[in-house]
């Protein structure tokens, strides 16, 4: 039988504000957070430190002073490895790519146990200043950034077009924010946990029209560690684990917009990547019990819910408003609270999504547990979902 990959342990710090300003006398150090997290995750997994043969890190933000953080951290834990020790970078897809690369280390036979981990520190850096860097991450730095585009402006234009094409309303988008805040209120790792009402979402100041403050993510720091292992190792531990059943990647060949006019809100890469992952897993979209999307804005969660086949075109928004995607609904999405409420430490966001998936599929999600959750879907992306990386996960209990 060919090798399969399992998630056997996780750890994460609560998403929030952890970064210190550079002029503060006492600094929060990334390595002090990460060493504790690795110890916690490996203890949660129940493997020996000698079993770890590969570590795949998400690249830190430029504000992290220590460069080549991956090899630096390995020295703090004295982990001698024969599989790759590396940092990966894929913009918003960074966390999902770190996980995917760690899977590869196991599938290539380089490691029986591998870590996918990272830390994202940025919240003490003022938004307008951080935006000077993030505005260069989407679009064309000369031909578009010069006009003033920012990353979430592309999602806002998705929202505007989707409203035009499908008659969706701001209230329907707002329902996603309310729902995710409710989920976050049940998640100890979440950044924003105080319940909000539909009216409160609608009354927030506009950020990128038609999206207001609660439709978009805040600024977040976070760090997480996942322990991956071959299925053989996972089975030997005699406790629940999560099996990676399908993987799919697709890049649509464009950057933000397709220069040949297309249906921008169809998210074709997410459609293709999820189709590949379903096929590999031998399942259909209807069989998924739970999903965590990389969806920075309320509109994006709606669009992805259509692209991965949970709802037909134009049905995602009304379905969200009708409660189909909340805990207890037909297909609970973002039970962690999602990027708007659990929080969005961008480079490690997908690691947090996978922590939530693991908690749910191992039956340890507490008050937000989806009963009998067996199959889960996680997505990562970059640009305006110009590329998507999708994983189908299965509970083994």
């Amino acid at each position: 039988m060919s090798t399969r990959v399992a998630i056997i342990g996780t750890s994460a710090i609560p998403v929030g504000r952890h970064q210190t300003r550079s002029d503060e006398p006492l600094q929060v150090m990334e390595q002090e957070i990460m060493t504790r997290l690795v110890v916690d995750a490996v203890r949660d997994a129940g493997v020996d430190r000698q079993d770890i043969e590969s570590l795949v890190f998400t690249v830190p933000r430029p504000y992290t002073l220590q460069k080549y953080f991956h090899t630096f951290l390995v020295s703090h834990l004295r982990l001698a490895c024969t599989g790759n020790v590396m940092e990966v970078m894929g913009n918003g897809m960074t966390g999902a790519l770190a996980f995917d690369q760690a899977c590869n280390e196991i599938l290539l036979g380089r490691a029986k146990v591998a870590l996918a981990l990272g830390i994202n520190m940025e919240a003490a850096t003022p938004s307008a200043e951080h935006a000077m860097s993030s505005m260069r991450t989407t679009g064309d730095v000369d031909f578009q950034t010069s006009g003033g585009f920012i990353p979430i402006s592309w999602y806002a234009m998705d929202a505007m077009r989707y409203m035009h094409d499908h008659g969706a309303t701001r209230e329907q988008f707002a329902a996603v924010a309310v729902k995710n805040r409710h989920h976050a209120s049940l998640n100890p790792l979440a950044q924003y946990r105080k319940p909000i009402t539909l009216q409160e979402v609608l009354e927030q100041r506009p950020i990128v029209e038609p999206l207001g403050l609660y439709d978009v993510p805040g600024r977040s720091d976070g760090a997480a560690c996942l322990v991956l292992a071959s299925e053989e190792v996972a089975r030997s531990l005699g406790k629940p684990y999560v099996l990676v059943r399908g993987r799919g990647f697709s890049h649509d060949g464009s950057h933000q917009i397709n220069e040949i006019p297309n249906d921008m809100t169809e998210l074709i890469a997410a459609k293709r990547a999820s189709a590949t992952a379903y096929e590999q897993a031998g399942i259909t979209a209807e069989q998924i019990d739970i999903a965590e999307f990389y969806a920075p804005c309320t509109i994006v969660e709606i669009l992805v819910s259509e692209a991965v086949g949970f709802f037909g075109r134009g049905r995602g928004a009304p379905a969200a408003a009708e409660g189909e995607t909340k805990l207890g609904g037909r297909i609970p999405i973002s039970t962690s609270g999602g990027l708007t409420s659990r929080g969005h430490p961008a480079y490690v966001t997908s690691l947090y999504n996978l922590v939530e998936m693991t908690d749910q599929l191992c039956g340890r999600a507490g008050e937000r547990q989806v009963p009998d959750a067996r199959l889960g879907l996680a997505t990562g992306e970059l640009g305006n979902y110009n590329a998507a990386l999708v994983h189908v996960l299965e509970a083994q209990r």
Partner: protein, 140 residues
């Protein structure tokens, strides 16, 4: 047909870089010329202008005038702007489908009495800043 040129009494907040290759675009834009590269091998336009055709990979690219008219595909108004754009905020940006069958993104300029809405006709124009031009769209 040249674009309308509107003077703007300030410098560009985040000026584009210019290469020897894109120089004709920016210098042409300065005089109201709206153009991009068109592939002599497959006949397709591309924007931004590129030395290699993304469609057929030919490097037989020539500068050709573009249609200044199009349709507003979508738009947004940005209130949370990066530091250099803060004094311009809020400002609108958009995605436009040009009549020639090319999708572009640009700043979107108000036209009194016209509400921005996907589907409305727009035209391209030049915002002539003190230090150089930028292209933008405006309801036609």
């Amino acid at each position: 047909m040249t674009l309308e040129v509107i003077p703007v009494a300030r410098k560009r907040a985040y000026p584009p870089r210019m290469s020897a290759f894109t120089q004709p675009f920016w210098e042409g834009l300065h005089t109201g010329r709206w153009q991009s590269t068109c592939c002599q091998a497959c006949g397709k336009f591309t924007f931004p202008p590129k030395p290699v055709c993304p469609h057929c990979w030919s490097d037989r690219m020539e500068w050709k005038d573009l249609s200044p008219r199009g349709t507003l595909y979508s738009w947004t108004r940005i209130h949370a702007a990066p530091k250099v754009f803060m004094d311009e905020a809020p400002y609108a940006v958009c995605v436009v489908d040009l009549d020639v069958g090319l999708r572009i993104a640009s700043r979107l300029v108000e036209k009194p009495g016209v509400e921005f809405k996907p589907g409305i006709p727009v035209e391209l124009l030049v915002l002539q800043y003190e230090d150089g031009p930028l292209f933008a769209a405006r309801p036609a």
